[in-house]
């Protein structure tokens, strides 16, 4: 037996409310992250990711409250990302009850954030979120994939594979690999991207972006993912956590 492939729903939270359509269960309030997190916990989610997309820093306090209330009621690991700028943000989120904190743009601007956070809190709670895409015209990297910021809208020209390697070397205990090309297409995970990163990093790898059909998950694991993350297919009830796990088990992968 070995460690189970994790199936992780991701919730976009804006000013304390889940945004993007949610209609997979009978909730009193489909926009309440705590209620939804609880429902996913009961449905067999192995972990949860909250992505805080709150624009204004004044609304960010609400996120801490959501994290706090979720940690009170849901007894599976919780990763929180979005808007993390400094080590103090790690501290605040971990104190609120997050088990892991994911960081993206701020680490690109200052990679020492990863090492500082890992040194202070341990690698196990530092997740490097990499928004990668195939290089558009005018941009070139050795792997052909570059890192983007601002949800894939801004080019950095940084090689995505090199960045994942550097992130892990600096102390990230996990890579959350988002394919900006596959994101929203529901046409499957970006297998070549997953394979390239898997070949170079030894920390756990979460595949994200592109999940649309039941058959999409096992190939991502075959390409080297330790965990599969999805949002809309779960939120819209297209697929259940149990169905995805059933499919993974069918393909011979261990699940919880």
């Amino acid at each position: 037996m070995s460690v189970a492939i994790r199936v992780i729903p991701c919730l976009d939270v804006d000013a304390g409310r889940v945004v993007k359509g949610i209609n997979f269960v009978d909730l009193r309030d489909a926009g309440d992250p705590v209620e939804l997190a609880t429902a996913y916990g009961l449905a067999g989610a192995d972990e949860l990711v909250f992505l805080d997309i709150t624009a204004s820093s004044s609304d960010r306090a609400t996120t801490y409250d959501v994290v706090r209330r979720t940690a009170e009621t849901v007894f599976i690991p919780l990763t929180v990302g979005g808007g993390v700028r400094e080590v103090a943000d790690f501290d605040r989120l971990l104190r609120a009850g997050a088990d892991k904190v994911s960081v993206n743009t701020a680490a690109i601007h200052d990679p020492t954030l990863l090492s500082d956070a890992a040194e202070r809190f341990g690698s196990q709670c530092v997740v490097l979120s990499v928004d990668a895409r195939r290089c558009p015209e005018g941009v070139s990297t050795p792997s052909g994939f570059e890192v983007t910021t601002h949800g894939g809208r801004r080019s950095t020209g940084i090689d995505a594979i090199d960045w994942a390697v550097e992130g892990a070397r600096r102390g990230a205990g996990e890579i959350l690999l988002n394919s900006m090309d596959a994101d929203g297409t529901e046409s499957g995970y970006d297998l070549p991207l997953i394979e390239l990163v898997r070949r170079e990093v030894t920390v756990p790898l979460i595949a994200s972006g592109g999940a649309g059909r039941i058959g999409d998950f096992a190939p991502a694991v075959g390409a080297g993912a330790d965990a599969v993350l999805a949002a809309s297919v779960f939120h819209f009830g297209t697929l259940s956590i149990a169905e995805v796990k059933g499919e993974l088990a069918e393909a011979g992968y261990p699940v919880r």
Partner: protein
Amino acid sequence: MTSVVVLDYGSGNLRSAQRALERVGADVTVTNDVDAAMNADGLVVPGVGAFAACMAGIRAVGGDTIIDRRLSGGRPVLGICVGMQVLFGLGVEHGARVEGLGQWPGTVERLHADVLPHMGWNTIRVPEGSRLLADVAGERFYFVHSYAVRSWDMVTEDPRMAAPLVTWTHHGEDFVSAVENGALTATQFHPEKSGDAGAVVLRNWVSSLD
């Protein structure tokens, strides 16, 4: 009501441990107050991050003495994750050798596995007679760590002493994932993050405190 103190020495997500223990009916206080930690029915020693940092944190609040005294009096202590690792004799991280609390012989070392940290839900091989891990056959538990105890070195020759019960897990290689040894209990996995299966384990421990 069974009273439990979660030792607060600046490590990790203590709130989750508190809530998970409350969920199974314990009266929980998170503190580093020596009297409270000495007098509680059970003491939980949590721990995330580096072995050396946890050891320093524990010593800074007198946790080493608290644990020693409790165990001399047969008062239960539960170590979780790095809170388990520090109970062993030695921790070796990044080439640095750090003395542990030495309650058990053994060395905490980096696991040999393709993917580290060992992160996620894994199975456990429970020894016969385990009270802590009763009623969780076939369940998986949440682990997150890169270091572990890879061999059990304690020799129990005195026939009057019950042999410790050691639970194993495999990730790249076998490592110790739980120990039950009289008043001293420990898990490498996080029962407080292991959903309903974790709640059963915590309930088993709390109910043993009476």
